[in-house]
Amino acid sequence: MRFRFALAAFSLTAVLSAALAEDLGSMMQDDRQWVMPAKDYANTRFSKLAQINAGNASQLRVAWTFSVGSNHGQEAAPIVIGDTMYVVGAYPNEVFALNSATGDLKWKYSPRVDPSSQGVACCDVVNRGEAYDNGKVFFNTLDDHTVALDAKTGKELWAVKLGEITQGMTITMAPIVVKGKVLVGNSGGEMGVRGWLTALDENTGKIAWRAYSVGADKDVLIGPRFHPFYKKLIGKDLGIATWPPGRWQVGGGPVWGWISYDPKLNLVIYGTGNPGPWNSNQRPGDNLWTSTIFARDADTGEAVWAVQLNPHDLYDYDEINENLLLDLPIAGKMRPVVVHPGRNGFMYVIDRATGQVYSADKYDNQTSMFGVDLKTARPVMNDALKPLLGKNISGICPASPGVKDWQPTAFSPLTHLLYIPHQHLCMDYKTSEVGYIAGTPYVGATVDMYGGPGGYRGEFAAWDLTKRTKVWAIHEKFPVWSGTMATAGHIAVYGTLDRWFKVVDDRNGKLLYQFHSPSGFVGQPITYQGADGKQYIAILDGVGGWPGAIANAEIDPRVRNGALGFAGAVGDLPGVTSGGSTLLVFALPGGGSNAH
């Protein structure tokens, strides 16, 4: 077997009836639970449960539902610890604990989130999920608090404020816990926020370390242990030197996506967002460390390596997407790697210990860059499509949300395939007739997005990481903005903006089951086993987020450039869905079964 990950995984199936492990690292190997949104530190979103499988998925039905009560984009993954499911809604970020088999409500926690935080969040008021460790549930609020709750009672244990919404900072990402530290990153790059990743003591909320994405080495936690693979990343205070004077102070590089952890190398690995808020002609230079993947010591936060994917980003290509920690054959030898499905449209395979980019293949239509120069890891830019003031430029692919945005992929060690929910959009840069004028309302009215070649706007694709090719793909009318998961039952699961919950055969993409849900999906599916021995699949519906805000009636679809240009791409969405907030839980009919 080529994937060492898979060898380890299957020896654990036998312990399903054993007592629940209490160490987080062990808990994530117990597939009765789903202890973090990414399922495990490697961010595989793969479960060994197979009671629901390709042979019987057509019999799925809704077991129970629950409303989280706020019709904004629901991007969160529920988590399951023991027989309890925890779920957090979009603003105002209420947290619910439910019996994972029956849906009975155990407790509810309602934070008092500052209503004005809604006005400063860039792209709907989403929340991407919670974390768990040692009897505590952790989550972030839109108004910049990290909160710890007693998992049994819902009692607040601590809450710390990490930023000021009045300065444009919000927090939307799902925290993760590594060795007793809660890792949290901020949002708001376009608002002049300086990006950071912060580690909090899980018992007190006290800041253990903070690593900025821009600024001096001492702030970025770059020191003697930092050994980037590429020469251009070596130098003093590059987080200042690669910007015109002072620009870094509001340089962006927020950390609003996913964090992985390699226990063997003791590295946390994550990507930073795009540079902001300056016009690109006012920030000549590479703008380090924006749009960069960092590997940091989990205990101290010290940078160990980094690789910048989009130097001097021109297209809003954040690189906050998930990083899957897998073992892949590289030049005939198995290597621990990072797989990063880039927002810029390249499937990066990066050495996990050194940051060397082994390959970067286009995984969808891409016109703004010709390829990635593996000697430097820098993209080869298509100069003809560089946005220039005073020039209308058509056919830039992917559009600003990238080939794939935050919505995470899943990897099955059985099929060796990566399942990719993503958009298929291009854009035109139009010279704005109206620049922004102080004292008037603002929309980023400079781009116009539309479906890419073939006319479809989204896709659910299976990518072979060894052969480096797309194996199959399902075209969707709208961008696929939900996450996905895969299981040992050979199913992959996702949801569409036009309200379809879908289960497909992970070997060929054949549709096995679909359900027309109350609202469109921007959430993340998970699976677990209830105390009744039944396997369940859970996902939040509730359209929203960047593409979906148009459908929860907040953006006028007649305004093609609304929602930063996305309204043009999904103007027909309000015709098929409106807002929602329903947690849907599916199972097979009949009593519990311990079928493998």
């Binding site: 300065q167 002049g192 902001g276 010279t431 004292g439 008037t440 907040e554």
Partner: protein, 265 residues
């Protein structure tokens, strides 16, 4: 004029869209345009409109950030936004009721720059406003000229916990942090007028080479898409009250330029 301060309560109130109430969405912290105390020129013009139409003025207050229109006008929390630039297509617009220009603001006695092509701009410390990832015109034009290292940016949204966040740029001129600010006229004109430090306000010229970047904009009122009835009423007020509006704007130091097309004066 009665001004309701309990704005959020109005969100739920079943007020007829065009009854006896003029419902305005406005920023509570953004002079010279508006504030919760009703001290901005948009507040004064809203009062004028309500008086002219015999309506009662009420406000819904919301920071005029990126999602302003969708959170307010599009959710029927109000029916009018007092200032939108001509061509802004998220709303339907009245005819423009004034036009202004970007200006340079400097301390009196400093070299007075007017033209964007003035070579001194390569060495003076310049302050500009920043917004999202989209350039405001002066930032873009200076970048195009390669004027980068001596330019400082001030977030237009700034720290909303402080009064009138965009005013930090003018304060930077007062405090000698920058030599000259390139700023939208109403802001520059008003804060220069109330500044404890004598300031000069000079309309920006020499902009032709930077087309299609524009430095002069006409400003209209905005109503919800399709609200023709209200737009027609407002157009009537703008025509009738032209000189009063002009006087209000002049009182706030707003640099006025001729309206481009469409206007009848």
């Amino acid at each position: 004029m009665r001004i309701s301060l309990a704005a959020l309560a109005l969100l739920a109130a079943p007020i007829a869209a065009h009854g006896a109430t003029l419902r305005v969405c406005s920023d509570p912290n953004n002079l010279p345009f508006s504030n919760r105390a009703g001290q901005g020129f948009e507040n004064k013009i809203a009062e004028l409109v309500a008086r002219d139409l015999g309506m009662t003025l009420t406000y819904t207050w919301a920071a005029q950030h990126e999602t302003f229109v969708k959170r307010t006008l599009n959710k029927h929390a109000c029916d009018v936004v007092m200032g939108v630039p001509e061509g802004y297509d998220e709303v339907d617009q009245t005819r423009p009721y004034y036009a202004s220009t970007y200006v340079f603001v400097a301390r009196r006695g400093r070299a007075r720059v007017a033209s964007l092509t003035d070579p001194r701009l390569h060495t003076l410390k310049i302050g500009v406003h920043l917004i999202g990832n989209d350039p405001a015109p002066p930032e873009a034009a200076l970048g195009q000229e390669g004027i980068v290292d001596n330019v400082s940016g001030f977030m237009i949204y700034g720290d909303y916990a402080k009064p009138n966040p965009p005013a930090r740029l003018i304060e930077a001129v007062e405090h000698r942090q920058v030599d000259v600010a390139a700023v939208w006229g109403p802001l520059g004109g008003y804060f220069a007028k109330v500044s404890p430090v004598p300031l000069t306000v000079t309309p920006i010229t020499g902009t032709h080479g930077f087309a299609p970047l524009s430095f002069r904009f006409a400003i209209a009122m905005g109503v919800r898409k399709g609200d023709v009835a209200l737009r027609t009423k407002l157009d009537g007020v703008i025509a009738r009250e032209r000189s009063t509006i002009r006087n209000i704007l002049a009182g706030y130091g707003v640099p006025l330029v001729d309206l481009k097309g469409g206007a009848d004066d």
